[in-house]
């Protein structure tokens, strides 16, 4: 076998072995080493990251992509299900990034969760999550992807409800599961349709056979799946509620890896979506709506984690818009760059929260730039990368997306929404920095705040490097599959930058106004719309259970009790017979005249009938 492909396949298998080994050590009956989390899990992920760089460089150097079919699992005459790993452009680049981000987050978690008695179990859950995420990303058939899909959903549930003594955490975990389940309906529908019509769940066969078929229904199923998993509008409330989990969970699952699984699915299935204009338009409009709606909600939130969660949701909407523009590679680029700066934003906020004794409200932070200069600087770098500041990581993906949107002859409404959301991104990013880093502290100086722990600083430093150079590195080394449009009017080219700067200026003006505070409360209606998340959870979370309960009551009392008892059963008999009975008993008046006339009547009738 050629040494290059041998190196590729063996290093990829080694990654799986390295990651699964720590989980297997937990099955042994020996009492676990208290430092197992650091010594086994973090080392495994770090090692797996360095090993995964080899396939990455092989891919960058030689364009080598691999499909490894390990095991014929369930094979019938007409349908095959195998364990098959696909290491193409997308998974070869995503795996090192996911491992790098996870390594940083695990190191941070060893500080954040050090007082937790179950830290080993926490790390085990994070590792199982990582394994299922890599299974999802490297799947070559829908069945394996579904295993990974469900796996990340289950681990999300367990990790959001980590502090299960808290009622809100349990509600949030259940919410995540339910919303993801609704998305799963779409995915299962897609899988069923494909199994029936394309006769295989292997991606190569799917793409080959589906060339001239009308794929609208299965693609809509896929879009529903992505809506559930990637928190698009309609199935989005679980993502801000998922902030109940510890900050490492929010950083890993709900910003970099799990929520991009829906978008990743659409990217994988992009050969099916290329020619279906309905699916592409749905993605475009849904993404535009999501990005604007969640950016609006982020404008007035006061919990720092919720702001970053809505920011994630907004960027996911942007990725959906990119898919709608038929640019899967650009969406993938945004997934990669987004992972770095979003994870860093979460880690910085986690560091600040821990320093302030679990204070998450930005109204009670302030002046962190003097107290934790490194953390607040990295918060600023992350926010700049998020808004698409030229030449940081986010610029390469976000600006390219907006350029593609501007130069395509598609929906102008989607374009307007996306540009507005881009300006809102600048507004809420400035809001976070203004209330957290600038000004004077608004909290009590209860404990000394310092940054002298390398377990916190090194991960943030690593992710900061990633946020700065990842965009440049990836775009310099990857050959684009679709030709980007190189020439466009200067207005279109600078649109994203202009809109961001306008948003920034607006935010600075608003900050000055907040500082002066001419009246105690702002204009209430728009503020309430944004703060209460568009009233979406308020309505849906009360309306659906109410309708269900009323339906249940109607079925139980009316359909069952009323129908069988009153309309067709005993009471119906009663209602039929009662008038006749009352008439008959009313006739028995006790008067001889009545009896004689009845007798004569009956006699006449009998005589008439007999003759």
């Amino acid at each position: 076998m050629h040494p290059t492909s041998l190196m590729m396949t063996s290093s990829l298998i080694i990654i799986f072995v390295i990651l699964t080994y720590p989980v297997l050590t937990t099955l042994s009956p020996r009492p676990q080493d208290p430092h197992w989390a650091l010594s086994h899990v973090k080392t495994a992920v770090k090692l797996a990251f360095f090993v995964s760089l080899l396939p990455l460089f092989l891919f960058l150097n030689e364009g080598l992509e691999t499909i490894i079919t390990n095991w014929n699992w369930m094979n019938t005459a007409t349908f095959d299900i195998n364990i098959s790993l696909k290491f193409d452009h997308y998974s070869v680049i995503f795996t090192p990034i996911a491992l790098y981000v996870t390594w940083s987050i695990l190191e941070f978690a060893s500080w954040y969760m050090h007082a937790d008695p179950d830290m080993n179990r926490f790390f085990k859950y994070l590792l199982i999550f990582l394994i299922t995420m890599i299974i999802l990303v490297t799947a070559n058939n829908m069945f394996q992807l579904f295993i990974g899909w469900e796996g990340v959903g289950i681990m999300s549930f367990l990790l959001i409800g980590w502090w299960h003594g808290r009622a809100d955490a349990n509600t949030a975990a259940l919410q995540a599961v339910l919303y993801n389940r609704i998305g799963d309906i779409g995915l299962i529908f897609f899988m069923a349709w494909v199994a029936m019509n394309l006769n295989s769940w292997e991606m190569q066969q799917m793409f080959a056979v589906a060339k001239d078929m009308d794929l609208t229904y299965p693609l809509l199923g896929l879009i529903i799946a992505a809506t559930g998993k990637s928190a698009q509008f309609g199935l989005h409330p679980w993502l801000p509620s998922a902030m109940e989990g510890p900050t490492p969970v929010s950083a890993l699952l709900h910003s970099s890896t799990m929520v991009v699984a829906g978008i990743f699915l659409l990217i994988r299935m992009s050969p099916l979506m290329e020619n279906n204009q309905t699916a592409l338009t749905t993605c475009l409009c849904l993404g535009a709506l999501t990005t604007l709606f969640t950016a609006t909600c982020a404008l007035t939130q006061n919990d720092i984690k919720k702001i970053v969660a809505f920011s994630t949701s907004s960027q996911l909407g942007l990725m959906m818009v990119t898919i709608g523009l038929n640019q899967p590679q650009l969406a993938f680029l945004h997934i990669c760059t987004h992972a770095f700066f979003k994870a860093m934003l979460f880690l910085c906020s986690g560091s600040i929260i821990h320093s302030l004794n679990d204070e998450q409200d930005i109204r009670k932070m302030g002046g962190m730039h003097r107290l934790t200069p490194f953390t607040s600087s990295c918060l600023t770098i992350g926010s700049l990368a998020l808004t698409g500041t030229p030449f940081l990581a986010g610029f390469f993906s976000k600006d390219a997306i907006i350029e593609a949107l501007n130069t395509s002859y598609l929906n102008a409404w989607a374009l307007a929404l996306t540009l507005l959301a881009t300006s809102f991104t600048a507004v809420y990013s400035l809001r976070v920095i203004y209330f957290v880093s600038m000004g004077h502290p608004r909290f009590n100086p209860l404990s000394p705040i310092n940054e002298n722990n390398p377990t916190v600083i090194n991960p943030i430093k690593r992710l900061a490097w990633g946020s700065i150079i990842a965009g440049l590195l990836i775009t310099s080394n990857i050959i684009p599959i679709k030709t980007p449009i190189m020439s466009m009017p200067a207005v279109l080219k600078l649109a994203a930058l202009t809109v961001t700067i306008l948003g920034l200026l607006l935010a600075l003006e608003l900050a000055t106004l907040t500082n002066k505070q001419f009246k105690p409360t702002p204009t209430l209606t728009p503020h309430h719309f944004s703060n209460m998340l568009g009233f979406f959870p308020t309505i849906i979370h009360r309306l659906t259970p109410k309708l269900n309960l009323f339906l249940g009551q109607a079925i139980a009392s009316q359909t069952i009790d009323q129908t069988w008892l009153e309309k067709s059963g005993p009471k119906a008999l009663t209602n039929l017979n009662l008038p006749m009975i009352t008439t008959t008993s009313n006739i028995q008046q006790g008067l001889i005249k009545t009896y004689l006339s009845l007798f004569l009547l009956t006699l006449t009738l009998a005589l008439l009938i007999s003759y």
Partner: protein, 175 residues
């Protein structure tokens, strides 16, 4: 002795405190908050010497309505308060005291002094239980208890009722 009904003074003070808290949620910077808090205090002080209870109740009602329209949808809640971000977070680590009964003898042997003393405490609990129950039965009103507050020990040498649950409660912050 507190009853189920609030006095007018209590209602006014509650309105004042919650409006100050919501004002704090709206006015993020302390100097601006202090300014508007002083304005609010002046508004309350204007009517504080009102003798006509009907008018006072109407003012209170108007105040409550104004509060309702101007309240903050996400008021600032301290992290450990109900509704806060770390409320009940450590409930899952709070283990009840009877778990100590189920420790293996080898584990109990690691803390001989503690478990020896614990046996004495358990004996004390058995002895005082009947007196606690008797006191509670005597002092509970016929319609059932009115509050959750437990009465103190009345006689010399007695222990307060249900003291064991209080003494062996888990720590507020187990980790």
């Amino acid at each position: 002795m507190a009853s189920a009904y609030l006095t007018h003074q209590q209602k006014v003070l509650r309105l004042y405190k919650k409006s100050l808290r919501h004002l704090e949620s709206w006015c993020i910077f302390r100097d601006k908050y202090r300014f508007y808090a002083c304005m609010l205090r002046a508004r309350f002080d204007e009517n504080k010497n009102e003798k006509d209870m009907v008018k006072a109740t109407m003012l209170l009602k108007a105040g409550e309505e104004e509060f309702w329209t101007n309240q903050h949808p996400q008021p600032y809640i301290f992290p450990d308060s109900p509704g806060g971000t770390s409320y009940e977070r450590y409930e899952c680590y709070k283990v009840p005291e009877w778990v100590l009964e189920h420790w293996h003898p080898s584990e109990k042997a690691m803390y001989p002094d503690y478990f020896a003393k614990r046996e004495q405490w358990k004996k004390l609990r058995m002895q005082s239980w009947d007196k606690e129950v008797a006191q509670l039965e005597a002092e509970t009103p016929p319609g059932g208890p009115r509050t959750e507050a437990l009465p103190p020990a009345r006689k010399e040498g007695d222990l307060p009722p249900l003291w064991w649950q209080f003494v062996t409660r888990p720590r507020e912050r187990p980790t």
